[in-house]
Symmetry: C2
C-alpha cells in the first residue's frame, strides 16, 4: 500500500489546475448567528461536473503515461465518481469504461454518457459488479481508478483543503462528510502537513454510521447496504482511507435523516446553492454540536450538488 | 437629472469592495453545446443577500456623509432592493425604513427584518404607497434610495460588468434581465466606457414587455401591474434608466413564461445554483435566438437567487 505524501498533493495540484475550478468560498451572517461559529463553505458543488471527485479523477487521468492513456480508465460506481472520471477522460480525450448497476437512476447514466463514458450494466450485487468489472477491464485494458482507495485519488481530493488554507489562512477546524473517506483522507493529508493545529471532523448519517463505529472500535467495520438519503455516503472505509482517518481525525459526528434534510434546505435558502443531501451532513452536525464549534473559524466542505430537482426531500414529507 | 459617469463607477467600486462579494463566474460545457455560444455566468445570486442590488444599495449607504447617515435610508420595495438596502444599512449600523404592501410575502418581510430593516406597511396601491412613504420619510428624515432610478444605485450596479471585463477580458456580448433597468443601465455605463465593442442585450418576459415596447417606440411605455413569474421584472423604466437603455442597448429580447421556467430548471441542474425566475430570462432568450449568440463569448448576469423553495415552478405544472 503506497501512502501518498504532501509532495504528491503539490504535484496533483499543478497537474489538475487547468482542468478543475478553484471553487468559491461562501459565508452567511445568518448561518453564523445560528451556529455561533464563523463558517466558510467551500463549494465543490460548483465544480463543472458538480462534485469534488473531479479533483481525484483528474489527477488519475492526467497522470497516466501516453501508453496507458490510450487504453483509458475504468471504474465501478453509480455516483459522482463515475461522472467525474468520465468528465476528466473526456477532457483528455481518452476512453472511460464504467460498470454501473442496471438499476442506477437514468439521470446518472445520462450524465456519464454525456461526458463520453461507456457504461456496461451489471446486476445490483457485489458479485455481479466484480465479475462484470473484471471482464470490462480485461477487454479494454483500462486503468482502474477506485472511487477513493487510490493514492492518486486521495492526493487529488487533498487539493481542496490546500486551496482553503491558501485562501483563508489557518482555520480552527475543517469538517467534511465521510463515506469511503476519500475527501476526509485528503483533508488529513494536507492539513497534517500545512495546518497541523486545524482539527479535522468527519460527518456521517446516523443510518450509515459505519465510519463512526469503525473510529470508536479502532478497526474497519463495513455495513451491507445501509439506507440513507445521503446516497453518496453509503460505502465503507478501505485500508488507505482508514490509515488517514484513524491517524488524523479528531472526531466523527452523526446526524439523523431529518436533521440532514433541514440542514440541506437551510443551505439552499441561505447560500443559494443546489447541494445534495450528503453535503448537508456537516452543517447538520455543527447545529447539534454547538459547543464544539462556537467561536471557531470552521471550513465546511460542500462536496456535491447532483440531485433530482423533481423530488426534493422537504417536499416529500 | 445627474447622469453618472465612469468615474462614479470607479469610486463606487472602491467604496463597496469591502462590503460585497466579487462573485464567481461559472461555465458549463453542456449549456455551451446547447446554445452554440461560449457562456460566462456571473452569479450575483451568490451575493450574501442574494442579489446584485447589494451593489447599488451599498454604494448609496456608504456614500452618505455622517450627518445624513444618522437619519439612515428609506425606500419602498417589496423585492430584493428592500432586503439589500437593509443589509447594507446593517453593515454600516444605520437605520433603514422600508414601505412594503401588507400583502407582500411573509418571507420577504422576514428577510428585511432579519437585516434590521423597519417595515411600515401600506395598502397594495400606488397612492397608498406614495402617501405612506411620504409620512415615513418626513418622520425619519431617511435618505430616499430608489430601487433603480438613482445615479448612486446605477453606479453601484455598474461594478458588476466592470468585474466581468476585468476577470474575463473583452466579451462579444453581455445580457441581463430588464425590469426597471438598473442593472442594464450599469452595463451600459461600464461597457460603453471600457469595452465599447461589447454588444449589450436586455432580456424581458413577454408578459411584462414594457421595456421591449418602449425600446421599439422610442419613448417610455409603462404597464400597470403586469403578471409574470419573473417577479423582479414588473417595474417600468424611468428617466435615468431610459437614458442609458435608449443610448446603448443593442436589442431587447423576450421569452414566454414556459421558456423562462425551462431555462430556470436547466440552470439549477447544470450550474447547481438556486436562481430566481427573473434571472432565467437571459438564457431563455439565448436559447430561442441561437443565431444571435452562436460562436460568441457572452457574459450572462444571474441577477438573484431569492425563491420560495416550497413551490418551484416546474413542480406546479
Amino acid at each position: 500500500m503506497y501512502i501518498p505524501t504532501y509532495d504528491d498533493v503539490l504535484a496533483a495540484h499543478e497537474r489538475i489546475k487547468p482542468h478543475i475550478r478553484r471553487t468559491p468560498v461562501l459565508r452567511s451572517h445568518y448561518l453564523n448567528e445560528l451556529t455561533g461559529a464563523d463558517l466558510y463553505f467551500k463549494c465543490e458543488s460548483l465544480q463543472e461536473p458538480g462534485a469534488f471527485k473531479v479533483r481525484g479523477a483528474s489527477n488519475a487521468v492526467f497522470g497516466l503515461d501516453e501508453a496507458q492513456a490510450k487504453a483509458g480508465v475504468a471504474t465501478h460506481s453509480s455516483g459522482n465518481h463515475a461522472s467525474c472520471l468520465s468528465y476528466a477522460a473526456m477532457l483528455r480525450g481518452i476512453p472511460c469504461n464504467v460498470v454501473m448497476p442496471r438499476t442506477a437512476p437514468q439521470a446518472k447514466k445520462d450524465t456519464v454518457r454525456r461526458y463520453g463514458g461507456k457504461i456496461t450494466e451489471c446486476e445490483p450485487s457485489t458479485s455481479s459488479r466484480e465479475a462484470t468489472f473484471a471482464q470490462v477491464q480485461a477487454a479494454t485494458g483500462g486503468d482502474f481508478v477506485h472511487p477513493y482507495n487510490d493514492p492518486r485519488v486521495i492526493s487529488g481530493q487533498a487539493t481542496c483543503s490546500k486551496e482553503m488554507i491558501e485562501d483563508l489562512g489557518e482555520l480552527d477546524a475543517v469538517i467534511a462528510p465521510i463515506g469511503g473517506g476519500g475527501m476526509v483522507s485528503g483533508c488529513c493529508l494536507t492539513l497534517s502537513n500545512i495546518a497541523p493545529n486545524t482539527l479535522i471532523y468527519a460527518a456521517e448519517p446516523e443510518q450509515a454510521d459505519d465510519a463512526y463505529r469503525s473510529f470508536k472500535a479502532g478497526h474497519i467495520i463495513a455495513d451491507d447496504a445501509p439506507e440513507t438519503i445521503a446516497d453518496g455516503l453509503k460505502v465503507p472505509l478501505k485500508d488507505l482511507t482508514w490509515h488517514f482517518v484513524s491517524s488524523h481525525v479528531t472526531d466523527i459526528l452523526t446526524a439523523s435523516e431529518q436533521e440532514i434534510v433541514d440542514a440541506m434546505k437551510i443551505t439552499w435558502k441561505q447560500l443559494r446553492i443546489v447541494m445534495e443531501p450528503s453535503s448537508a451532513v456537516p452543517l447538520a452536525t455543527i447545529l447539534k454540536n454547538r459547543a464544539t464549534f462556537a467561536g471557531k473559524r470552521v471550513g465546511v466542505i460542500i462536496t456535491g450538488g447532483n440531485v433530482d430537482l423533481d423530488t426534493l426531500p422537504w417536499q416529500k414529507s
